[in-house]
């Protein structure tokens, strides 16, 4: 039973390696973004020693580790799923004894491991270039952060799949997918610590699922939360995982019914 997904995993690695140049350029883009964020923040910090409760070292660590988490968590499949639905290619999966969504999940786990290798390499280059003062976490904080990253990956996957599944109703789900991507990029805490935003907005974002993708794991990593916040955070993160899973399952089942009704 699991052998089929192991093969999917192997093929995914081969697939990435087929496009060496594409893959490398993607990584180059990542390094440029990383440098941009770094210089932006170091410029902001020219005057004050502390800004929004962050020292310069802390913010650099935030950006760097945030980037690492982002590479691990934000690996989209929504485009592939939406295309398969729109083109009818999904049919050839539905007639075979394989779970389509799990198939994509496995493919993306493979991509994630590939990204991990690359990002570690990039971060290494970055550290050599800029020699930032890195803040290393304590062992318990690191452990909590890792658990949270795994949970964030699940949350991301369910949201991302849900968006792709909307293609059952609207052409390739362009609109909703774009909106979700924007939301996730800007309110996950990937670009900046959400705490720099106005209090009200910050409070709202803290409850929404997106902050649990990057901001919460990063806070755990940097040890910024008291025990109660850690507990509440995990509670909310797990709640969102459950809700987004139910959403994905419901959309998928309803969507399939529709696909069966109108044909693909």
């Amino acid at each position: 039973m699991l052998r089929k997904y192991r093969t999917v995993f192997k093929l995914s690695w081969q697939n990435v390696l087929q496009y060496r140049l594409n893959f490398l350029m993607g990584r180059v883009r990542n390094i440029i973004l990383l440098l941009t964020l770094y210089f932006l923040w170091t410029t902001v910090f020219v005057g004050p020693a502390k800004l929004f409760g962050f020292t310069q070292e802390q913010i650099v660590a935030y950006v760097l580790i945030g980037n690492l988490f982002y590479s691990l968590i934000f690996v989209h499949s929504d485009n592939d799923i939406a295309n398969a639905i729109a083109s009818g290619g999904l049919s050839l999966f539905l007639v075979r004894p394989i779970n389509y969504l799990f198939y994509w999940f496995v493919r993306r786990v493979a991509s994630r491991l590939m990204h991990l290798l690359m990002t570690v390499l990039e971060t290494g280059i970055f550290i050599l270039l800029v020699r930032p003062d890195l803040q290393f976490p304590t062992a318990p904080n690191l452990l909590l952060a890792l658990v949270s990253v795994v949970l964030a990956t699940a949350l991301f996957t369910f949201l991302d799949f849900s968006a792709g599944t909307l293609a059952f109703w609207t052409l390739r789900a362009y609109g909703p997918r774009f909106a979700l991507r924007m939301l996730m990029d800007f309110t996950s805490g990937r670009m900046f610590p959400l705490s720099i935003l106005p209090q009200t907005l910050f409070t709202v974002l803290n409850v929404l699922p997106f902050s649990f993708l990057i901001f919460f794991p990063l806070n755990l990593y940097q040890g910024r939360l008291d025990s109660l916040s850690v507990l509440c955070g995990f509670g909310l993160q797990i709640t969102w995982i459950g809700l987004s899973f139910l959403l994905m399952r419901e959309l998928w089942q309803q969507g399939l019914r529709r696909y069966e009704a109108v044909g693909g």
């Binding site: 089929k4 697939n15 087929q18 049919s91 539905l94 007639v95 075979r96 004894p97």
Partner: protein
């Protein structure tokens, strides 16, 4: 599955379709921008009867052709048989299973090949997808080795197995699609337009393969095609579908008996004749000296031929059945039906 096959005299029923109906709801949009805006608010839906009360049975080892114009309901029927569509009403059984439940036990026994869709991984060589399908269908190693070498030999694709799929020609890709679909030795095979877009030579090769495969493995095959050539060469039995209903189900040869009310006299003259005078014999559908093609009523074909021989300087004469393509076209357009 050569060992799974049975004696010819005890034909097993593989597919049973009884009074199948499949209606779609399609929303109607009025023309123009105003219509588009209106449809944002209120949508009118209309039932489209894609399949409207279709029944047939297919026995093990049969190779049946589904023909009909675009939108006749061929693909819808095939999709219902594969479990992709849920029937509006009626009964569908494939190997005793209800395909809509998508049980792995059934899925491991059939395959669907669509000429316009591919399951091969675009950026990898075809053999990688073969390996994936081997695992998906849980084909044992030995069986896989045997099947693949057999298929590769039949389709002559040894050299292209290691080439990325996106670099293959359409014909080569289609061959690989077939191999990917047949690795688990399906008892039932649904081929939806398998020769679409292929050149004549490749079409012929595909047909030869399908025929050969059907005979060698006694698999049951349903084939839909736009090309009469596919059906004429491959299928003894055809089911003609039009507007969601079966208009004919039987031997290909019987179509002529049933629907052709005329025969064709094709003549070669010794010297020029007046075209107008030929009209006495029958309807002249073509005349380029020295050849002429004349359509005559079926019952009177011999008398008309005799008259032609008596009154004209005939060098050569043939009495022919009308081409099956024409008959079927006439069936669809609803004219000249006997």
């Amino acid at each position: 599955m050569a060992e799974g096959c049975c004696k010819l005299d005890e034909m097993k029923e593989v597919i049973k379709v009884k009074n199948l109906k499949k209606y779609y709801q399609v929303h109607q949009k009025e023309a123009g921008l105003v219509g588009s805006l209106k449809s944002l608010v209120v949508r009118k839906y209309e039932d489209v009867k894609a399949v409207d009360g279709v029944s047939f049975k297919i026995n093990e080892g049969e190779l049946v052709g589904f023909i009909g114009p675009n939108g006749a309901g061929k693909t819808t029927t095939l999709k219902t048989l594969s479990g992709l569509l849920y029937p509006t009403s009626g009964e569908v059984r494939v190997l005793g299973h209800d395909p809509y439940k998508r049980e792995p036990e059934l899925q491991k026994q059939f395959a669907l090949v669509m000429g316009q869709k591919n399951q091969l991984w675009w950026d990898l060589p075809a053999q990688e997808t073969f390996i994936l399908n081997k695992e998906i269908y849980e084909v044992p190693d030995e069986h896989y080795q045997k099947t693949i070498s057999e298929l590769v030999e039949m389709l002559e694709i040894e050299e292209i197995l290691k080439i990325q799929v996106r670099k293959l020609s359409l014909g080569q890709r289609m061959k690989c699609e077939l191999v990917a679909a047949l690795l688990h030795s399906p008892k039932v095979l649904f081929l939806d337009e398998p020769t679409i877009g292929l050149d004549v030579v490749m079409q012929k090769k595909m047909r030869d393969f399908i025929k050969d495969y059907n005979q060698r493995f006694k698999s049951t095959i349903i084939l839909t095609s736009h090309y009469m050539g596919d059906v004429k060469e491959l299928c003894e039995r055809v089911i003609i579908i039009d507007k969601g209903k079966i208009v004919f189900d039987g031997q290909l040869a019987d179509i002529i008996e049933k629907y052709a009310d005329h025969k064709i006299l094709s003549v070669v003259f010794q010297r020029g004749v007046q075209k107008e005078k030929l009209a006495e014999i029958g309807e002249v559908t073509g005349y380029t000296y020295p050849k002429a093609v004349i359509r005559v009523p079926r019952q009177e074909s011999s008398q008309r031929a005799a008259k032609l021989l008596q009154n004209f300087p005939v060098a050569d004469l043939n009495i022919e059945e009308p081409p099956i393509e024409n008959i079927i076209r006439e069936v669809f357009t609803g004219k000249d039906v006997a």
